[in-house]
Amino acid sequence: MLIGTVVLAGLALGLCAVLVLTDRLLPAGKDPVTDRIESLLPRIQCAQCGYAGCRPYARAIAAGEADINRCPPGGEETVRQLAELLGREAVALDTTLGSANMNRVARIDEHNCIGCNRCVPVCPVDAIVGVQQTIHAVIAAHCTGCELCLAHCPVDCIDLVARDA
């Protein structure tokens, strides 16, 4: 009886010691999960997911704080790829967050633009050119259709049009 108790206690202590040792000795791994999630996102930094950009959103997904369906520009395809990477079930895109997609670009109505320069700093991809007091223009090849500039125009002269129109 006594010897059995001693042997079991010794075994438990020995295994504990091994586990503590391996925990100390194994190198703490980097965090490649965030990198891989970010590489699947469109990286147009439109912030429609509610985070400051794609990297913070990827970090939130990795930490389990955000769902994978919050990226309107990425669409269902991104949700599917994220679900595959993370081994989760694909969920429907959250359509309440916005409808931006890469098929549309912003266009500034030059007759109404007052050159206020408010839309330039909010553009995440620097697709709007022009300085104060001059009429602005959108570089269609850079524009991602993220709609962030629309709310900042005081004269409402920015529209989204089909990319090839």
Binding site: G4, L8, L11, A12, C16, G29
Partner: protein, 193 residues
């Protein structure tokens, strides 16, 4: 060497732990929804199975038998398995965080996988050598991973199939597993151990 191969084939196919001996059924049904998850689960379980059967054998032959404490096998093996699971958890967390994210929840469940305990107990009752015990564990791991991946593949197909309403969901999965078990019974008698 030929005998060791027979041990592996015997444990993996002929006396498959899941489909013939009906051990470890809970991760078999629980972790077989997606092939990727099933492969990861099979890998993690295999690691635990092999290390746990080796360490259990050493504990049994060096500690319990010389001290005539065979009646403590069950307790001692559960301790060893718990430690092996914790070790696997540490290793996946630090070496492959992505795998850890996919498996996260399942790794602690391996501790209660009765196939792991079954291998350790069967090893000690069958009086195998250390090498044979390790191979038996590895064979059981191969068999477990194989049937897990097979069932996951079948279930993925069944998701797209036109399954009658009363059979949808888990029902068709159980029927699939039953038919697989019947198929594996065809191996009976291939290897005598």
């Amino acid at each position: 060497m030929a005998e060791l191969m027979l041990v592996i084939v015997g444990a993996a196919l002929v006396n498959n732990f899941v489909l013939v001996q009906f051990l470890g059924l809970c991760p078999f049904m629980g972790a077989s929804r997606r092939v990727e998850g099933a492969l990861g689960m099979g890998l993690a379980t295999g690691l635990v199975l092999t290390t746990a059967s080796g360490i259990s054998y050493l504990v049994d032959s060096l500690l319990l038998i010389p001290l005539e404490l065979e009646y403590l096998r069950l307790l001692a093996f559960i301790l060893v398995i718990g430690a092996a699971v914790q070790l696997t958890e540490q290793m996946t967390r630090k070496l492959s965080p992505l795998l850890h994210r996919v498996l996260g929840l399942y790794i602690p469940l391996i501790a209660s996988n009765c196939a792991v305990l079954g291998v350790a107990l069967l090893n000690s009752t069958a009086n195998r050598s250390l090498i044979a015990a390790l191979f038996y564990g590895a064979g059981a791991a191969v068999g477990f991973g194989l049937v897990l991946a097979l069932l996951a593949g079948l279930r993925e197909r069944a998701e797209g199939a036109d399954v009658p309403k009363p059979f949808q969901g888990h029902a068709i999965a159980f029927i699939t597993a039953g038919i697989m078990s019947l198929a594996f019974l065809g191996f009976t008698g291939f290897v005598r151990l």
